[in-house]
């Protein structure tokens, strides 16, 4: 029998995006239950007991995050992170498009748990149509008396609003998102203070990913023990894996945490096209380290604890498959271009470092580099890593450093070929990069 999906429920329950169908399947009963029968802290305790961890990338325990909300300062806010912008990630979009009420109910329950009376859904600007659909759903909920004032005869009131971003990856970083919502440039804040004490408009704020929040209604409805029946002990529940790259059947797959890469790639994704063999796996989108796809890696369970053992993070579980037709120097030129474009410019190592990495990786891919550029690239990436205000800078180096370490042959083939063509075909650009690196080494 096919396992029950708990997030992509529209695949098993047709028209669950219609309010009456969602309600017929128990929808909005969990919210009614918390508002009419539970203390706010008790809701947080249930989520804590479920072991739910944030699905946006960091894997932080959700209930614990809620419990940090500062009760001395009011009002509180909830912000749903619907900025989904990591290359390779397209899961939140499917939830919001096809199972929107479950997501909105999760937002509402989170808001009740921290006693927020306003919640915002921050959507990336590209999700314009989804934003308009959510606006319609919210209006429908207000008309049905499920959102609004004095809900279910209680004194609790809640409004949910959508807010569109305008094309900036960095706004997926929670403090950049809060700045952006406040009408400022979307640049990360220096932390602490963290959002539970100083968040939106300077008030205590819970920021959760769309997929995280979408888990909450069923956890309340069926209990934390039920939730723990799937997944692993430390990473309970199901997770949506966005599978892309060189596979026959890319797409979203909802699977228990702890499912192996092999199952995802071959059973769900139908394997690699043609005669190709899987060469590398990026489990966390463009931010990911490159895993060498040997048998050990393929048999690794995809959960927050096991993936680090093969030298990467699970992140948002956007699994990009690289086959043996792809040269890794080309791949990192792509990821670096992305991060250079998306660097917000606030801190120097990221702003300058991604710029230089872009130039060096382009040069390598275009066959204009000698072997010394590999060391230069490694040095620049090492100067970025661990020295930035937010994770974006670090992310920009993951594929670069692991690519150079684990797929050295691809780079050497490129630079050696270039070297034999013209040993002294050096550009002014190259010399400038070298002097920069020397300069920074001397500091």
């Amino acid at each position: 029998m096919e396992a029950e999906l708990i997030l992509l429920r529209h695949r098993q329950i047709p028209e669950i995006d219609k309010l009456e169908v969602y309600r017929k399947n128990g929808g909005w009963e969990a919210f009614r239950k918390v508002v009419t029968t539970m203390q706010p802290d008790a809701v947080t305790d249930v989520v804590k007991a479920s072991g739910l961890r944030g699905r946006g990338g960091a894997g932080f325990p959700t209930g614990l995050k809620w419990s940090f909300t500062d009760k001395k300062v009011w009002p509180h806010y909830v912000v749903a992170n619907a900025d989904e912008s990591e290359p390779g990630t397209f899961k939140d979009r499917e939830i919001m498009e096809s199972n929107p009420f479950q997501f909105l109910e999760g937002v509402a329950i989170a808001a009740y748990a921290v006693q927020a009376h306003a919640a915002y859904v921050y959507l990336r600007g590209e999700f314009w149509q989804i934003g308009a659909q959510l606006d319609d759903k919210i209006a429908e909920l207000e008309a049905a008396g499920v959102l609004g004032d004095n809900l279910f005869g209680s004194s609790y009131s809640l409004r949910i609003y959508t807010h569109l971003g305008a094309g900036a990856y960095i706004c997926g970083e929670e403090t950049a998102m809060l700045e952006s919502m406040g009408g400022l440039l979307g640049q990360p804040r220096l932390r602490p203070p963290f959002p539970p004490s100083f968040g939106l408009f300077g008030k205590p704020t819970v920021v959760n990913n769309v997929e995280t929040l979408s888990n909450v209604p069923l956890i309340i409805d069926r209990g934390p023990e039920w939730f723990r029946k799937t997944g692993t002990e430390k990473s309970p529940g199901n997770k949506i894996f966005s599978l892309s790259g060189r596979v026959n059947k890319p797409g979203n797959y909802e699977l228990p945490l702890g499912t192996t890469f092999r199952t995802l790639i071959y059973e769900c994704g139908g394997g690699i096209p043609g005669e190709g063999k899987v060469k590398a796996i990026m489990p966390a989108g463009a931010s990911s380290s490159l895993i060498v796809a040997n048998d050990k890696a393929l048999d690794t369970p995809m959960d927050y604890e096991s993936v680090p053992a093969v030298g990467a993070q699970l992140g948002s579980a956007s699994v990009i498959i690289i086959d043996d037709t792809v040269s890794i120097d080309w791949l990192i030129a792509k990821t670096v271009r992305f991060f250079q474009h998306e660097s917000c410019g606030k801190c120097t190592p990221c702003r300058e470092g991604t710029y230089w990495m872009k130039h060096i990786t382009n040069r390598i891919t275009q066959g204009q580099s000698g072997p010394e550029d590999l060391q230069l690239l490694y040095d620049v990436a090492s100067q970025i890593k661990g020295k930035c205000l937010c994770a974006l800078g670090d992310f920009s180096t993951e594929a670069v450093l692991t690519g150079l370490d684990r797929f050295r042959g691809d780079f050497e083939a490129k630079v050696n070929a270039a070297e034999s063509r013209a040993a002294d075909n050096r550009t002014a650009d190259n010399r400038a990069a070298e002097s920069l690196a020397v300069e920074s080494r001397n500091h």
């Binding site: 290359p87 990630t89 397209f90 979009r93 569109l164 979307g186 408009f201």
Partner: protein, 224 residues
């Protein structure tokens, strides 16, 4: 007078109502989308209007326009085709797709076709990785996704826009009073207010060939 409030009184009130009264500044992003609705870009006057509405400086509003990729400070094509060629899409042929589009449209990435209809742009991930090649189309009115695309399907879309534009132009001509000045027939480009003289050139001369610092602004007769 604030032209945004004049044009869209209800929208402005609705947007302001989303945020706490002492946090008006939060409305800057939705107001910029509103300001972009008609022309597909934010005029200098709109910067001033938004600034006065939110009690911030127009420089601060302009910095928001500059920071985000979906706001435009200058006119582009009526339709902006924004192709994702990030890693996952590139693994499914997006680079090749983009290059062939350029060849067929006769423009490079970042340029606008001579008729002012299409601007072609390469953008970062749009969360459509499993359905590449894919792109979004941005107009003043919003964004639409187009996934699992081919060069042929995309060119067919462009042809459709062309015939729609033709039809709109014909309708505008038919509605035009008989004694309208000859020069007003068809699309025109005007140098925006702020420049001293007003220069009229016909659209056939092509937007991309105008110097970028001239801040040209398309005036489409017949409206949207």
């Amino acid at each position: 007078m604030n032209s945004l409030i004049e044009k869209y009184p209800q929208d402005v009130q609705k947007i302001l109502g989303k945020y706490p009264a002492d946090q008006k500044r939060a409305a800057v992003m939705p107001l910029l989308y509103l300001a972009q609705r008609e022309l597909g870009y934010v005029t200098r006057q709109a910067l001033v209007d938004i600034a006065s509405l939110l009690e911030i400086s127009s420089t601060e509003v302009a910095s928001i326009v500059g920071f985000y990729t979906l706001y435009h400070g200058e006119a582009g094509g009526k339709y902006r085709i924004q192709v994702c060629n990030d890693l996952p899409c590139a693994l499914r042929g997006a680079d090749d797709f983009l290059q062939k589009l350029c060849e067929n449209l006769g423009i490079r990435v970042g340029e606008t076709t001579a008729d002012g209809l299409v601007t072609l742009e390469a953008v970062t991930c749009l969360a459509g990785c499993d359905r590449a090649p894919m792109f979004q189309v941005q107009t003043g009115d919003g964004l639409t996704y187009h996934e699992n695309q081919t060069v042929e399907s995309t060119l067919a879309l462009v042809e459709q826009w062309k015939s729609e534009a033709e039809a709109a132009r014909a309708a505008a001509l038919a509605a035009e009073p008989a004694d309208a000045p000859e020069t007003l027939a068809g699309d025109m480009l005007t140098v925006e207010a702020g420049e001293q003289e007003e220069v009229l050139v016909t659209a056939e001369q092509g937007i991309t060939r105008q110097p970028a610092d001239k801040r040209i602004h398309i005036q489409e007769l017949g409206g949207q």
